[in-house]
C-alpha cells in the first residue's frame, strides 16, 4: 500500500516538476537530452528529504510524483545541496543505489545538460512552508549528526577504556603525566648531580 503524500510532499514534487518544465521550455534543444530516457522512471532520494521523488520521462518532458506503482528503472541518491552545485558548476553528483546503471548515468548526463536555476525554482515554488521544512530538516540533520558524533565518540572511548583497556582513563593519564613530570624532575636532578660529581672529579684529578 502506498503511503499518502502530504502537502509538503505534493509541493516538493510540484516544484521539481515545474523546474524541469521551465528548463525544458528554455532549452535550445527542447529537452533532447532526455530522449535517451524515454519511458523511464528514475527514483530520486534527495537528502535530507525523507521520501522518494519519481521522475517520469516522456516525450522529452519530466513529470514528478511521490508514489509509483511498481519499481522504478533506477534509484539514485543525491542531496539538495547537489542541485546548487549543479546550478553553479554544471556538475551533478548522484549515488547509484539499484536498477539500470546506464539509465542512471543518462539521467545524470541529462541533468548536467539542462540549465535549471534550482535555487530560484525551489524558493519560488515551494513557498515558506516547504522552505521552512527543508531548512528544519537540514538543521535537524546537522544536529543529529553532531549528537551521533558525540555519542559515537563517547561509546568508542568507553569501549576502548573499560572493555579492552586500549585507552587510559583521564585519571590514568593525569597520573601518568604526573609520573612523567616527576621522573623528568628526578632525571634533571640526577643530571645536575652527575654534573656536580663530574666537576668534583675533574678537580680531584692530579694536576
Amino acid at each position: 500500500m502506498n503511503k499518502q503524500p502530504g502537502l509538503v510532499e505534493i509541493a516538493f514534487s510540484k516544484s521539481f516538476e515545474m523546474a524541469f518544465a521551465a528548463a525544458v521550455h528554455l532549452d535550445e534543444m527542447h529537452g533532447q537530452a532526455l530522449s535517451a530516457l524515454e519511458g523511464k522512471v528514475i527514483e530520486l532520494w534527495i537528502a535530507p528529504v525523507k521520501f522518494p521523488l519519481f521522475c517520469l520521462v516522456n516525450q522529452n518532458r519530466i513529470t514528478t510524483q511521490t508514489v509509483l506503482n511498481g519499481e522504478a528503472d533506477v534509484t539514485l541518491k543525491t542531496g539538495l545541496r547537489q542541485f546548487r552545485v549543479l546550478a553553479q558548476e554544471g556538475y551533478f553528483e548522484a549515488k547509484y543505489i539499484r536498477g539500470d546503471e546506464v539509465t542512471g548515468q543518462a539521467f545524470i548526463k541529462a541533468m548536467e545538460s539542462l540549465e535549471i536555476d534550482w535555487e530560484e525554482h525551489l524558493s519560488h515554488y515551494t513557498g515558506d512552508l516547504v522552505a521552512f521544512k527543508i531548512g528544519h530538516g537540514f538543521r535537524s540533520l546537522l544536529e543529529r549528526k553532531q549528537n551521533t558524533k558525540q555519542y559515537a565518540g563517547d561509546t568508542l572511548r568507553e569501549y576502548l577504556q573499560f572493555e579492552i583497556n586500549a585507552l587510559p582513563t583521564r585519571n590514568q593519564v593525569e597520573h601518568f603525566a604526573k609520573d612523567v613530570q616527576q621522573t623528568h624532575a628526578e632525571v634533571e636532578k640526577i643530571a645536575e648531580r652527575i654534573q656536580a660529581l663530574s666537576n668534583q672529579l675533574s678537580q680531584i684529578k692530579p694536576s
Binding site: L7, I10, K14, G39, L56, T63, V67, L68, N69, G70
Partner: protein
C-alpha cells in the same frame, strides 16, 4: 437517497429516474464554458491540490492505461497523459458532450495529443472491454450518476486485476464548526457566485444540494465493497469537504 424506486434525488428534489440524466446534462451544458473558472473561484483554488494528490496517489507510470470518467474539462486527463507517455493511453469519458468538447479543445490547445481518446459514455454502461484499465478515476462526477451502484460495478469490471479506482468527491465535513460555515457558504454564497460569474444560479444551487445528497465516506466505501472491490479505503481532504475513495481489484 431516494425512498421511491422510481424516483431519484436531483439535489433536494425528487425526479423520475429517467429524468435525472437529462437534468444533469442540462446543468453541465449550462456550466461547461465557465466550469474551470468556477471551480477555481468556488474552491479558492484548493481543487488543484485535491486533484494533484489524486494524481500522486494514482502512482501511474509510463505505459499505463487510464480512464478519466466524468473527466469534464480534462484536468486529470492532462496530468495522466503526461505521465503515461506515448506507450500509454488516457481515455477522457463523460456523459456530457459539451464538457468533452471543452476538454478536448483545451487539451489539444495545450499540445496534449496522441495518447488521449475522447468518448461520450454513461458511467452505468461503460463501452470498454473487461480488464482494460490500470487506473480509473471519477472526480466530482459520481454524485451526478443516477445509479451509483451500477457505475461502481462497471468501473470494477473495466479495471485490470491489480487496478485501482479513485473516486474524488465532495463528502461529509468532519469538523462541526467548519460544517456550519460550509453550509452557509454552499447555500448562500455559492449560488450567488454562480449567478455573478456564470449567470446561472440554479445550476450552482443544484451542485450544493447534490453534494449534501451524496453518500458519506463510510457509506461510499461500503458501496465500493458491495460493487465487488476487494479492498476499499478513503482519505479525507480539507476536513472531509472532499474525500478520495480508493478501491482495488485484485
Amino acid at each position: 437517497m431516494s425512498q421511491n424506486k422510481n424516483t431519484i434525488d436531483f439535489g433536494f428534489t425528487e425526479v423520475p429516474l429517467e429524468e435525472k440524466v437529462k437534468k444533469v446534462k442540462g446543468v453541465f451544458d449550462s456550466v461547461a464554458g465557465n466550469y474551470d473558472i468556477m471551480n477555481d473561484v468556488m474552491s479558492m483554488g484548493i481543487h488543484r491540490i485535491w486533484k494533484r494528490k489524486t494524481i500522486e496517489l494514482s502512482g501511474v507510470r509510463p505505459g499505463n492505461t487510464v480512464l478519466d470518467l466524468a473527466g469534464g474539462t480534462g484536468d486529470l486527463t492532462k496530468a495522466f497523459a503526461k505521465r503515461v507517455g506515448k506507450d500509454g493511453k488516457v481515455v477522457l469519458a463523460d456523459i456530457n458532450e459539451s464538457m468533452v468538447r471543452v476538454g478536448r479543445d483545451r487539451l489539444i490547445n495545450e499540445g496534449i495529443v496522441g495518447n488521449v481518446d475522447y468518448t461520450i459514455t454513461n458511467a452505468e454502461a461503460l463501452g470498454f472491454p473487461d480488464n482494460t484499465f490500470d487506473v480509473a478515476t471519477i472526480a466530482f462526477g459520481l454524485r451526478n450518476v443516477t445509479n451509483k451502484d451500477k457505475a461502481l460495478e462497471e468501473l470494477y469490471r473495466v479495471l485490470k486485476p491489480g487496478g485501482q479506482l479513485m473516486v474524488l468527491e465532495f463528502s461529509k465535513v468532519t469538523q462541526p464548526m467548519l460544517a456550519k460555515f460550509y453550509d452557509f457558504y454552499s447555500f448562500n454564497i455559492l449560488p450567488k457566485m454562480g449567478k455573478l460569474i456564470a449567470d446561472d444560479e440554479a445550476s450552482y444551487q443544484y451542485l450544493a444540494e447534490s453534494i449534501r445528497m451524496h453518500p458519506d465516506q463510510e457509506t461510499l466505501k461500503q458501496m465500493m465493497l458491495d460493487a465487488g472491490f476487494d479492498k476499499a479505503e478513503y482519505i479525507n481532504m480539507s476536513e472531509g469537504i472532499v474525500a478520495l475513495h480508493r478501491g482495488w481489484k485484485f
